[in-house]
């Protein structure tokens, strides 16, 4: 059975209805436009994860994408229609004030258009040019449709350890056109980045902070590095979108199956997007498993406040099924060994490496003294001066200072960074090379979530703040 190429874009069409059902009731959607962005990311994450898992067990995406897309489209539409029928007809629809509606629906749309006008016109005119896009991602987009399971060896497989999720999306769009247009990888990345911007607005506006949402959108869409990556066809910005989505699910003020579903959708999307998505996926699963174990008083996320144990278990089992084919396939790629076995004998060198990592990070991020003068660092990445890294540091400081209940869960993103720090310290590859290539893209991957969490912490109204106590209560407390 070979599905016709025309059916392949069903995969993208299915993302919105499926995601709308998944994200429905997650948070009070103050902006339907923004919720559409969140839903698209969630639907894309689930569909990519499933098609990618099928690809890894031998079902080519040429077949898997239309089948999963059609099933997702049908299921999403049916579930949405069912919920629509079930709603209480006597309940009066909430009155929306025109000015507020204009702000919540029109402002993010207008800002999105303003921020993405030039990148869209660039993508319309120019094909991909980045070395990694040309050498790594575009070949995978072509072959993901036909090669099942994906081949992990050969000269034409640069970085075979990367998953093929976004490559499947790109291929599904390109096949009906008769060939992979070199502009398509840029359009797919931009589309997902637009969804990420709307998701950032959704996350904050749903907490009663539309101005903060607009600020987060503007910051994310104006910094040079995220914008350049969004239009390049590279995967780090896309991965950042899925990490934001998972953080949104894990931090939902109204815990329940929708929160778990959105967190898992983000984790699946991350898993299928890039290699760093695998530790992030593992971190989300750890957080869910921790919540499962520590219930009913989970301290990492708020899911533990509700009776969600069976749902968490279901999410963990489904996630294991989605991840297992890729993890098994991926384990066949043997890279550089990790320096674990004799680390106690060589603990002095490991201490020296930890020192070098810290000094190199200080050099790259803040422009401090170079610990590797004459090393083999890339000459085209001079240190310091990057606005995104400075903003990320500022966000980190904001998130560190003081506790505030009901904030965003950034723990999985931090676990991703710690894992990568660990891998770099225990890797045989030179530290300067590892960090030069890693520090900027790792920052980009966690940046959307860090930014939204920091803006939320600083600017959202505090629902937990009881305000000034009445005089009687104060007197009673004093007594």
């Amino acid at each position: 059975v070979t599905a016709g190429p025309a059916l392949l874009p069903l995969l993208l069409l299915a993302a919105a209805p499926l995601g709308l059902w998944l994200a429905r009731g997650l948070l009070p959607a103050r902006s339907r436009v923004a919720r559409f962005g969140t839903a698209t990311l969630a639907g894309a994450g689930v569909l990519m994860g499933v098609v990618h898992a099928l690809l890894c067990v031998g079902v080519p995406a040429r077949l898997g994408a239309p089948l999963v897309g059609a099933a997702g489209l049908a299921a999403g539409c049916w579930l949405l229609a069912r919920e629509w029928r079930r709603r209480d007809p006597s309940a009066a629809p909430a009155r929306r004030r025109p000015a507020r509606t204009a702000l919540l629906e029109g402002a993010p749309l207008a800002l999105l258009g303003l921020l993405l006008f030039v990148p869209l016109s660039d993508a319309r005119q120019i094909g991909i040019t980045e070395n990694d896009t040309v050498r790594i991602w575009a070949p995978k987009a072509v072959r993901a449709l036909t090669e099942a399971p994906p081949r992990l060896e050969g000269w034409d497989q640069a970085h075979p350890e990367y998953p093929r999720g976004v490559a499947i999306l790109t291929g599904a769009l390109s096949m009906p056109l008769g060939g992979l247009d070199p502009r398509l990888p840029r359009f797919v990345g931009l589309f997902l980045f637009a969804a990420t911007l709307l998701c950032a607005f959704d996350a904050l506006s749903a907490r009663g902070n539309p101005w903060g949402g607009l600020a987060a959108m503007a910051i994310l869409g104006s910094l040079p590095v995220p914008m350049r990556h969004a239009t390049s066809g590279l995967m780090d910005g896309t991965l950042g979108g899925f990490i934001l989505l998972a953080g949104l699910g894990l931090s939902a003020p109204a815990p329940g199956r929708r929160a778990i579903a959105v967190a898992v959708a983000g984790a699946w999307g991350a898993l299928a997007t890039k290699d760093e998505g695998l530790p992030f996926f593992g971190a989300v699963m750890l957080v869910l498993a921790w919540d499962f174990i520590r219930r009913p008083r989970g301290w990492t996320v708020q899911l533990g406040q509700a009776i969600e144990r069976p749902r968490i278990a279901t999410a963990l089992v489904l996630s294991a099924l989605v991840a297992a084919p890729w993890v098994l396939l991926r384990s066949q790629v043997h890279g550089e060994p990790l320096l674990l076995q004799n680390s106690p004998q060589n603990a002095g060198l490991l201490l020296m490496r930890a020192d070098l990592i810290l000094r190199e990070l200080g050099h790259l991020a803040l422009g401090l003294q170079n610990p590797f003068p004459g090393g083999y660092s890339q000459p085209d990445v001079p240190p310091g001066g990057d606005l995104m890294v400075f903003t990320a540091i500022a966000c980190g400081v904001v998130l560190l200072v003081g506790r505030r209940r009901g904030g965003f869960t950034v723990l999985p993103a931090m676990l991703l960074l710690v894992t990568d720090f660990f891998v770099i310290a225990f890797s045989t590859v030179g530290i300067d090379w590892q960090l030069v290539t890693a520090y900027n893209r790792l920052t980009l991957q966690v940046f959307p979530l860090l930014l939204v969490a920091a803006v939320d912490k600083l600017t959202s109204p505090d629902p937990a703040d009881p305000g000034p106590a009445p005089a009687e209560a104060r007197a009673a407390a004093a007594a």
Partner: protein
């Protein structure tokens, strides 16, 4: 034990200790005035190799990359170590050796012992703790490398990082009146966002990435310094690339894989080879190592410069910049 009481760090530490015990050579170092004597306990039927040099590792051992050392051969950025001595383990699993300390100066030298298999040439079985040997007041001193590093200025960096962590923990305990903070912070965050949008609005219309840091992307208009070519393929490659690809696709025998032979692994040729590889789809194409010898095998080849790399090959398609050619069985070499 409750599952929640098992910490990942504890599990990792246990795993590391278990792993290290499997491949460890226990060495007793005895410094003398003119030499350092060592007694090693290790596997029978093995040879003890003692290395000395600077800490330029990690060096994974040939034949067993899971085993690694601090001292080893040359690295691009540092001189390598020397083999000092090589002695076999006896039937009780003991090896004794003496390292001359006469040439030793005040500069510390790292010494590490490796047990090599006597039966499998070059296969490492275990390594010892790395130690530092140096002279202090005329006497030879042997000290664990870990201790030596711990007494070095490394602790300024690690102590600084630790101080930041402690500061972070303390900062978490700060109590802030969030309602008042948000009143001040929201305008500040909006101002920061407006400033970044303003940077984009002010960016020159021809701003392109690099040199670092990247300039802001223009907000409204963009005049790219590119020729006004309509075909987007020509924007990423040389003019005429589309016609060349179409020609190759039309002339390639169906079902065969095209092997693209770039002239080098860098520069435009390398870029073009990869562009061609994925843009030839649905014709299957792979990029070969430029060192590949097309004389060795038959097949369908594409070269992105002049003609075929093999005399006598049958040319299927050729235009000014590329050539598709076939090597068949029986073709002259």
């Amino acid at each position: 034990m409750k599952p929640s009481s098992v910490s990942p760090i504890g599990l990792l530490s246990v795993a590391l200790l278990v792993c290290s015990g499997c491949s460890r050579v226990a060495v007793e170092w005895t410094p003398g005035p003119e030499e350092v004597e060592l007694v090693a306990k290790g596997p029978k039927d093995a040879v003890l190799l003692v290395l000395a040099g600077p800490p330029n590792g990690p060096h994974t051992m040939p034949g067993n990359p899971k085993i690694w050392t601090t001292v080893g051969p040359d690295k691009p950025w540092a001189p390598g170590g020397l083999e000092v001595t090589r002695v076999p383990f006896d039937s009780t699993g003991t090896a004794r050796a003496k390292i001359p300390a006469g040439p030793l100066g005040n500069e510390p030298v790292l010494v590490q012992a490796v047990a090599l298999s006597a039966t499998e040439a070059g296969r490492a079985l275990a390594v010892s703790d790395c130690v530092v040997v140096f002279r202090k007041d005329g006497a030879v001193v042997v000290r664990p490398h870990l201790l030596h590093v711990a007494r070095s200025p490394v602790w300024w960096t690690l102590g600084g990082a630790l101080a930041l962590v402690v500061l972070g923990v303390l900062a978490r305990r700060v109590r802030l009146p969030w309602r008042r903070v948000s009143v001040v912070a929201l305008p500040l965050v909006l101002l920061a966002a407006a400033w970044l949008v303003w940077l984009r609005a002010r960016a020159p219309a021809d701003a392109t990435p690099g040199p670092w840091p990247d300039p802001s992307l223009p907000l409204i208009s963009r005049r790219l310094p590119l020729p006004p070519v309509k075909d987007p393929v020509d924007r990423v490659t040389r003019p005429g690339f589309r016609a060349f690809l179409d020609g190759v696709r039309e002339n390639a025998p169906p079902g065969e894989t095209i092997s693209i032979l770039p002239a080098a692994t860098e520069g435009p040729t390398w870029h073009d080879a990869w562009q061609a590889a994925w843009m030839l789809w649905p014709v299957r194409a792979v990029v070969l190592d430029p060192k590949t010898d097309p004389w060795a095998s038959r097949g369908l080849y594409l070269t992105l410069d002049d003609g075929p790399k093999r005399p006598g090959a049958r040319v299927l398609f050729k235009n000014g910049a590329a050539c598709l050619w076939r090597v068949q069985e029986g073709d002259p070499k």
